[in-house]
Symmetry: C2
Subunit: 424 residues, 2 copies
Amino acid sequence: MTNSELAFPRVVIVGAGFAGLAVAKKLANQALRVTLIDRHNYHLFQPLLYQVATAELTASEIAVPIRHILKKAQNIEVILDAVNDVDTQNQLVTTESGKQLPYDYLVLAAGARHSYFGHDQWERFAPGLKTIEDAHLIKNRILSAFERAEVEADPELRQALLTFVIVGGGPTGVELAGAVAEIARKSMAHEFRHISPELARIILVDAGPRVLAAFDEKLSRKALADLKSLGVEVLTNTPVEGIDELTVRLGDHNIASETVIWAAGVQASPAAQWLGIKAERGNHIPVDDNMNVAGFDNIFAIGDTASFIPAGSDRPLPGVAAVAKQQGHFVGKFIRAKVLGNKPPLFRYRDYGSMATIGRNKAVVWLNGWRITGFPGWLLWSVVHIYYLIGFPNRFLVAFNWFWNYLTSQRSVRLIFGIEKTKS
Amino acid sequence: MTNSELAFPRVVIVGAGFAGLAVAKKLANQALRVTLIDRHNYHLFQPLLYQVATAELTASEIAVPIRHILKKAQNIEVILDAVNDVDTQNQLVTTESGKQLPYDYLVLAAGARHSYFGHDQWERFAPGLKTIEDAHLIKNRILSAFERAEVEADPELRQALLTFVIVGGGPTGVELAGAVAEIARKSMAHEFRHISPELARIILVDAGPRVLAAFDEKLSRKALADLKSLGVEVLTNTPVEGIDELTVRLGDHNIASETVIWAAGVQASPAAQWLGIKAERGNHIPVDDNMNVAGFDNIFAIGDTASFIPAGSDRPLPGVAAVAKQQGHFVGKFIRAKVLGNKPPLFRYRDYGSMATIGRNKAVVWLNGWRITGFPGWLLWSVVHIYYLIGFPNRFLVAFNWFWNYLTSQRSVRLIFGIEKTKS
């Protein structure tokens, strides 16, 4: 490092998800010393994680090593570690491995975990889907349930093993329910001798009045029809009141199920606690129009960590990739402008639309006021997701897997491996 | 099942590796009731497992669900379970989950694990490579070592993190050493800011006088030259005397290394103990010309479980895929002949040759007396391995990954995930 480089301001970015990575890319090869810290060595393309959980894609097809993405950014160092605390007085980030990283600017983009609304004891029985490890756990449970059902003599227990409950009717819940239905009805057909996987029950439960509540009502109804055509039972207005090893307790009845997946709520990382400030509901940090945290003009919070209410609105922007990316780009540009003494940019969120897929030839897309469903929607969903993946190999491999699955209904990743094979 | 089917003889096959799967395929849709039991739900293509450990392939590309392979064999049931014991008196196999499987014919094809020659305490520090879990553990250790070196201030510890020791100069050890060298010299180049991964030391240690001792001397020498050209240090005539967290102890000196991989010895599964018979060295079960276990004319042992010395030879056949497959085909045909009262077949092993790859454009092949090395050897090795993979998608995906790696030196599976990230 030259002497002049040693005088460059330091930026620490916590988290290499969509938000943190967008900041880093904007700061690449600028007159700044940047440290990007993440607890994983890869950037994960979250929107397709449900396909890792449902044996369609492998983790490596939707993840890329962070340092590979930023290989050419000589001013950025990537550190595999996690944050323990922030000393805002001395401008230091403390890591789990005991390092202290000084910063002039700090960007908190540490993401979110699932939340059980105060019922953390449900997690053991109903894992959520945020990490690759989560996806493997869920995949192992789904595949093991069929394996155990095949050798189960007790008909009641066998039915419980063939009953899958997905809690939460947002995009992740809808996508998981559709994929589990396709595994049972198509991929597994004719492979068992004592059970008919086609007869598995897939139940999607939501406390609200409709699935995909963030979409407009017409698309909601279309998604519901698509789910039903795949044989998914949808229970709306049905809050979950209890989950244990064998049972999901609903208002007026119980469902015996060994495999429950949680897709109902998220909660931000403890970034607010690091700063010693009061967070909003879901532990999100409120930020101003510059993504600035009140009281700290050199600390920014973006993505799922933050809660940002645009001027003229009464609701925070949703916790989706598009918001995280746009906030990241903005903060990158903002820090550059500050350092160079230029006029700072203004943040304006552009909502390009939203989409969710239910299964083969089944998707709902809202695009600048247009509604697209069925095969065109599904195709658009596929093209957009391949476009946003990072790198040619991942794009190619995902496209091939989808093409092959489309032709044959085969899922190539039906392996049970790892530590936990079953709940018991 | 019809009444006549209920009278069909029962065959239990333990293990769905190359040997067990070959038996099952020969018995498909015969007048037999077959149960194939394996502790995994997939058949694993072991010869490429080292590429999962070295971030080139994903597990699903070299593994296929067993029940998918045998989908059309209506007389075969596949069970995910492990064997605990065999009651030869009552002809019952007892499983870990407590099931009892009656058999008329029993085929033991339960494979092998690595063996530390009485030093089981070394396993923690020097994992071997037999399962997908092993491969992920080794991959995590290799990738984590570079990550930890990047942030390590102590130069001695940093060097220990960048020193990789592979114990055992057989095909697995040679292939691992070459692949680790290529990761360090090529795939990781320019991605770190504080270390030069190109300067990593890769050391291959063997107690015997040469690497690839099962090949002829010329090919051995060629492999040695190929390893050296990749910058691998090869220490022959060097028995390992101790392994702990930081050190590999050799005769006259120690190597400080955080990442040690064991590729030195195998030991058969406890099948001999299930039968209550005395096993040979390495726990292998001696078998006669029909792969029959002495004293039990309805029990067969094949693959790594068995030790078979062909007539006129003084050495057992090696523990390789070709032997396992040929023994499996033979036992399948033998059981069919016995049940139908036909003339039993004779087993004759056909040795088509052996091959090992060291790296890009580097392989040694012995084929019916021909020696092939360099690019032609490497190409032949690649084509043969793709040919023997099961299913079009896996062949296609592996070929694409190799092609891409050939063009760019990129390894697409450089993710650290799972439970154990580092030793500490």
